[in-house]
Symmetry: C2
Subunit: 889 residues, 2 copies
């Protein structure tokens, strides 16, 4: 049996269904599904993603067998529609659309009105009774086909249209008559002949195969590759191609086209939400060229808009559409994102899919659907992308802060952002790489802007609605976006935007509020997010199912406070080196480092002890009653060294050493690979007095807090960069001695643990014996990734992009744990550690502790806790719950 | 049952034997063994090493139970000798000597003549009939005890002796009478009372316990620790203490003391070899204060020395001694190093042990003993320390080279060395650390000089014989040494040596020839070593038993030639980066690196191709018919960048770029951790054209050589720093395409392999899938050690010393493979690689490939070959044979 590549839908036939997304793409699978539940779907067929894969495998050629399958697909459409492909009397026109497993908005190609040629255009004129419509459709087809399939520059066509209008004294396209369009078609064909070197293809089958090839080809376009890389979509998935009978939203005032969500995708409210345009083709809505009308009367009134809503303008079709919405939501048990067309009063469904939504909306929808009984609580937990919570966890604009509002646009993607204005994507990327926060300002965005949108903190456009490219992409990325701020006049060339006599230039600061659409000059103060309501409800449900504890990486009282407010159950990583950088004590730190002997170091450490104790006291006060893992000094000492002349001079005054001596000593401390140098417990082994001071500070502070608050913190003293049992033994001796001394001095004891980070491959392998000396392991997956992969995080940027693009790394291994490599070491260490010391406490404290995929891995391996940065604690709580649910399944 | 700590020997009793070295130390075990085969051993007892361990565990205290055991030991000696410890009439005197498992020459303490006090000295005078001897012995005892046990400065005693001689107008010690010594004893006791604050201990039991404690204490002395670290002796072995009845070689002209080897320890000749002194105590010989006499007449005559040999001076005892030598060699089946004393014509054996020997002697002795039938060939192979061959494999002085001989000393340790003269150990160490070759010149060496001797290329002393401290230690370390060059006058203070009106100052160059004793001014040309004779025989035997193939790390035709002469069976690692540094092409390399795009890189690579091809042609010519593993470019590109202004200017001229642009680009290439940066196959992935050029050069050269010589080399193209299968796949595609292209152009093909280094932990873990893409693995254990342990070899020096000293690393992991950590990864990779691709070729090409312990590991894991630097190839061959024998056992 030869493999089947073509799957039909419509007219009572559904060769596939919603379960076939991998094979048919999301669009194709859902068209088949909608057809199977008797929704009005124009008939068509899907060429599967397997064909795309084969197409590339065979050097961008189609196998012969496909011909017959496609012919049968066309015949299917002809049977249902009663029209014939290429028939001069009653021609069948089709759309050819891409459709990958997951939506890649605007990334890939589409051809509409295919099947028109010099003969069939007359048939279309006759059957539609609208000659102007027929010739307009033909010229649209030539232009689109030339752009997408023939890859000609679209400028020539636009220019010809402009000249035609000028010649005739018109301003609007609508003023052109059938005869005008017919003349323009002739000009368009001349342009094609000139630019392409051959006449515009008149054979409708040639047209079809050209379009199918172009759609498959667009899978490997640069912009599609960039999108896949940013969205972690494998290159070998391929796209499907959907060929479907055309329906027309541009056949007069009883025709329309629109997009809709079954609930509000920005706020999550249970209300139909969408936009439509009367007498327009579908692409007109999403392209953001005409500003569309609201779907419902309520929405129109709320916005204070004049043009009638669909509910008012086309009440009967609207009622039918609303019924379809309800049917789809119940059927799919999720909020749907829908495309539809009304052709002369008849409703046609062109697409449905789970709707992208903001985190806020996702939360609200999930919680409400669970309350409605549409889904279970467990499903609600699974529905919210933990990563997306990030949007909700960051500060929003302080409503009481003074603000200088420049203008207002549509609230296209929530969140507030401040940054320097830039007018093109490349500049955005470059300045972001330099660590600058930027706001990308464009008249409208296009897929070519993706990398700049990704680099920007926020996006502002002058044109386009809530479902424009900018809005959809920004919501997907979690970037705040204000779209369609129509009062803005933007000159990307001159790098300036103007509004009401004011000018903002590149490098000036703007603030945008994606929740209100406000655009403000300068930076506006922010406040902490509100964590009650749906957020609180979902978190409570999540806490009910998760097994992993969630701690925070925090090293200041403020971080600790934030973490505790976000639900952290302890501190998993309190780094101590940043405390050493404090301006008030850096001189003492430098004095210690530059000391020639132990006595010199001890003298400096004596000055640091009260400061360190104060650090820990402040942290323990916030975390009273909870475990706090304190990592003893880790970085190479040279990081603390003076750089500037005056710094050297200052240390010279403090130490009595000459600047020359200090510089010599600093040069001695230089390392070729500091990451693999004299750091971590190697400092503790060679200068035990440093760890002794830190341990003393920890225990003195813990007892102070225990005495004051009555609630003792549980210090977990963590020795970094251990590779052998002996290192940990030696350092534990130092810590235990400090504890013993402090307990004796203070006449009381408290519980504490001494353990180690597992951040070297050797430590993972020797975990069995290291567990003899250590009471807990915390996986330092940042360094473990660096050593296991042999990649320095600071230097990886030169090749990491190429590595992800070429499929060497599925994702940046510093963001998402390399489960196959680093993960195996974590598993080995967990297994061997537990064998020696059953019940040994195991946690993770690298950046991966806040990454949902990595948290799922931690659940699988059975770690006790993950530790994430304070703002990622809720993400970790939700991800841990999802991982627990997945483990149960 | 309480544990036993005291073991007796002598007088028909032997509580232990030669198998008890771990418990009784080497000296104690062999004293017991000699006693058991009826050799004349003064009676005594050994306090075991277990006591030493317990002594340290219990805070440097002895358990009460030891008292009775020691008392019984003393009683044993009293029974045999008929003397009583502390008896004023006929006192028993004992020696107290250390004795660890392995000999640590001069490192640890000894006390002689113990048991003398104000009363027993009179008894000794009476029983010996020699008052002068008795009082001399007493003053020696006070001086030694004060130094070793009471830790008083010995300067005061020496000063008192000098003053006594001056006062009396004497020059020599021998001029002092019994009365003089008696007066000096009074002075010595006064010094002790003043310096120590208490009178010299008169209770002989107090004396004994003090001495035992001092010997145990000397185990932890700084010099003992340094020696252990240099010789990889674990700190927890401990030492035993031997208490033995004194016999006296200083009781007149029928008394003597000496040291001997049963064969020549320098050349290996089958001839008794040794030195003795008439009327002397044992320490006089090894201390090198008096120049000793030869043992045999033949040796005396060969040296042209006047003082009679022992064979001539004491013929009867000599005959007895010779019989003992033969008996010991047959009994131990190895060359013995012996200490003996003759007391008034009666021979006593004080020590026997396997004699340290030069590599040359070890070879000769092993081969000859096998030929004599004393040992098997397998035993002969096992007898030669592979590491020691290093001495034989380096160039010796060219006999035809002009030489300016300054003076001549004793040929104390073979080999030739040139270097800058230094006069103290610290300077030697410091200059060696700066990469300078140094010759350490001392009047005589002492244990405090060990670190300087280790750092030096050669050692020259003015005093001391062939068995002096300098000679023994130098032979042990494999350093050339000329000792006893009596014409030298050395002033360490003024940093100058004088001889016959000539002066050599610190920093001047000297050459020494340890095989002839010649000392030459300046550097003398060298020639390649002779590899026939015993060396060839043993290598042939070794090749007959080894399983591992041995290749060489070589990247020049000269290296390849050397390697092939030394028996290499291929090249295991041909690095290509050094070729890039060649002055003739570095500008093209820099042009490539600094190019802004692929076209720029290709232009530069085009210039490099013929050069690279010539490199490979030269190497393949030497290695024709053998496999050559070529590693494609590995180091970070910035290593090739210009540093100096004029270099920048030159590259600027070649590239047309401004110096400023070049500097900016160079700064861009800077990396924080270049070891973990943009290097290895990451270069090949981002700039495939580099690897493409290198692959083309390899295949073009290989075909050239195949055509010219008729013997095709077998190129094994090695991709460095692979961490994922995909990287190897991508790079293999590049290499295969180059091969295909070259084969097509040249109309012929040849066999080649494409494989990878396994040098990242991830690569080891994912070896199963990497083996799908690669045809061989070569373990790059240098980098694998760096990543597994998280230690940069370039930066490790700051803590590696402390790490070895504190027992964290047993040995420097860059010298000897960390079997537990890195080794497990090698095992995992070998196992998983073989599972995917049975018979996959596995080798090791890190520095460890030439380290015998690491080679033993490679044998265990079943690798196919090891690759070592050319001069280490014979070492690897022998070590591989030993490993194979061990595996059979």
């Amino acid at each position: 049996m030869t493999q089947r590549y073509v799957y039909r839908f419509g007219g009572g036939v559904s060769d596939g269904g919603k379960g076939d997304k991998n094979l048919l793409g999301g669009k194709g699978a859902n068209l088949a599904e909608m057809a199977s539940i008797d929704l009005p779907v124009p008939p068509g067929f899907t060429i599967s993603t397997a064909m795309c894969t084969r197409y590339y495998e065979e050097g961008e050629r189609f196998p012969d067998s496909l011909k017959a399958e496609v012919a049968e697909g066309i015949a299917h459409i002809e049977r249902i529609t009663g029209k014939a492909f290429g028939d001069a009397a009653d021609p069948l026109l089709v759309s050819v659309r891409s459709g990958a497993r997951v939506s890649m908005p605007g990334m890939m190609d589409t051809v509409l009105n295919l099947g028109l040629n010099d003969a069939t255009v007359e048939g279309l004129a006759a059957t539609s009774g609208d000659e102007r419509f027929a010739w307009d459709s033909y010229r649209r087809f030539i232009q689109m086909y030339s752009d997408v399939v023939l890859e000609l520059d679209h400028g020539a066509f636009e220019e010809a249209l402009e000249i035609a209008k000028e010649d005739r004294g018109y301003t609007l396209d609508t003023e052109l008559s059938a005869a005008d369009w017919r003349e323009l078609v002739a000009e368009y064909k001349a342009i094609v002949a000139k630019e392409w070197g051959k006449p515009f293809p008149q054979d409708v089958h040639d047209q079809l195969w050209g379009a199918v090839g172009a759609v498959f080809g667009s899978w490997q376009s640069e912009r599609a590759k960039v999108y896949r890389r940013l969205n972690h979509i494998p290159g070998d998935w391929g796209t499907a191609v959907n060929v479907q009978a055309m329906v027309f939203g541009n056949m007069g005032d009883t025709s329309a086209t629109g997009v809709a969500f079954t609930r509000d995708p920005a706020k999550g409210d249970r209300a139909y939400y969408g936009e439509f345009l009367i007498n327009a083709q579908g692409e007109d809505v999403v392209a953001g060229i005409r500003t569309p009308q609201y779907l419902t009367k309520a929405a129109r009134e709320e916005a204070g808009a004049k043009p009638l809503s669909m509910e008012e303008a086309l009440p009967e079709v609207y009622t039918e559409l609303a019924a379809v919405f309800d049917k789809l939501e119940t059927h799919y048990r999720d909020m749907q994102d829908i495309e539809f067309t009304v052709e002369r009063g008849k409703l046609w469904m062109l697409q449905t899919r789970s709707g992208k939504r903001t985190a806020k909306a996702a939360l609200k929808i999930a919680v409400e659907m669970a309350s409605e009984g549409l889904i279970t609580r467990e499903e609600a937990i699974a529905r919210v992308e933990p990563q997306a919570l990030d949007q909700l966890l960051h500060p929003t604009l302080d409503p009481d802060a003074p603000r200088d509002v420049l203008t207002k646009g549509l609230p296209a993607s929530p969140g507030a952002a401040s940054g320097l204005v830039v007018f093109d994507a490349d500049t955005a990327e470059r300045m972001a790489a330099d660590g600058k926060a930027v706001i990308l300002v464009r008249t409208e965005t296009s897929p070519e802007d993706i990398h700049g949108m990704h680099a920007a903190k926020g996006i502002l456009t002058a044109r386009g609605g809530m479902t424009s490219h900018a809005a959809v992409v920004a919501r997907g990325m979690g970037r705040p976006c204000v779209s369609g701020a129509g009062s803005l006049s933007i000159s990307a060339k001159d790098k300036v935007l103007r509004v009401g006599g004011r000018e903002v230039r590149e490098g000036d600061t703007l603030t945008i509020d994606g929740a209100t659409g406000e655009v403000m000059v300068g930076e506006v103060a922010t406040i902490q997010p509100e964590l009650a309501g749906d957020f609180g409800t979902l978190m409570e449900w999540a806490d009910g199912v998760r097994r992993l504890k969630v701690r925070a990486n925090a090293e200041t009282p403020l971080d600790c406070r934030t973490a505790r407010d976000f639900g952290a159950e302890g501190v998993g990583l309190c780094r101590t080196e940043h405390m050493f950088f404090d301006a008030a004590r850096i001189t003492a730190v430098r004095q210690m480092i530059l000391a020639e002997d132990e006595a010199g170091r001890r003298a400096a450490l004596e000055k640091l002890l009260p400061e360190q104790r104060a650090d820990f006291t402040a942290i323990f006060e916030v975390m009273a009653g909870l475990p706090v893992t304190v990592r003893l000094l880790d970085p190479p000492l040279h990081e603390f060294l003076p750089h500037e002349e005056n710094e050297f001079a200052e240390v010279g005054r403090a130490t009595g050493l000459s600047v020359e001596q200090l510089k010599r000593r600093a040069a001695e401390l230089h390392e070729f690979n500091p990451m693999l140098g004299h750091r971590g417990c190697r400092l503790g082994v060679t200068y035990p007095e440093i760890y002794e001071m830190q341990a003393r500070a920890i225990f003195e502070a813990a007892i102070d807090v225990a005495e004051k608050s009555g609630e003792a913190p549980i210090p977990e003293v963590m020795i970094p960069l251990v590779g052998t049992k002996r290192e940990l033994e030696l350092m534990k001796t130092v810590v235990d001695a400090a504890a013993k001394a402090v307990f004796a001095e203070r006449g009381r004891t408290l519980d504490y643990l001494v353990g180690t980070m597992i951040e070297l491959p050797r430590a993972a392998l020797r975990a069995g014996e290291i567990a003899e000396a250590g009471e807990f392991f915390s996986f330092g997956t940042n360094d473990l990734t660096q050593t296991t992969l042999g990649v320095s995080r600071d230097d990886a940027s030169r090749f990491l992009g190429a590595y992800v693009e070429k499929g060497i790394y599925a994702r940046d291994p510093f963001v998402s744990l390399d489960v196959e490599g680093v993960g195996e070491l974590v598993e080995i260490a967990a297994e061997r550690g537990r064998k020696t010391r059953p019940g040994i406490k195991l946690g993770i404290c690298g950046e991966h502790g806040g990454d949902p995929a990595s948290i799922a891995f931690c659940e699988q391996v059975g770690l006790d806790y993950v530790s994430a940065s304070p703002y990622r604690v809720p993400i970790a709580r939700l991800a841990a719950a999802q991982a627990a649910l997945q483990a149960r399944a």
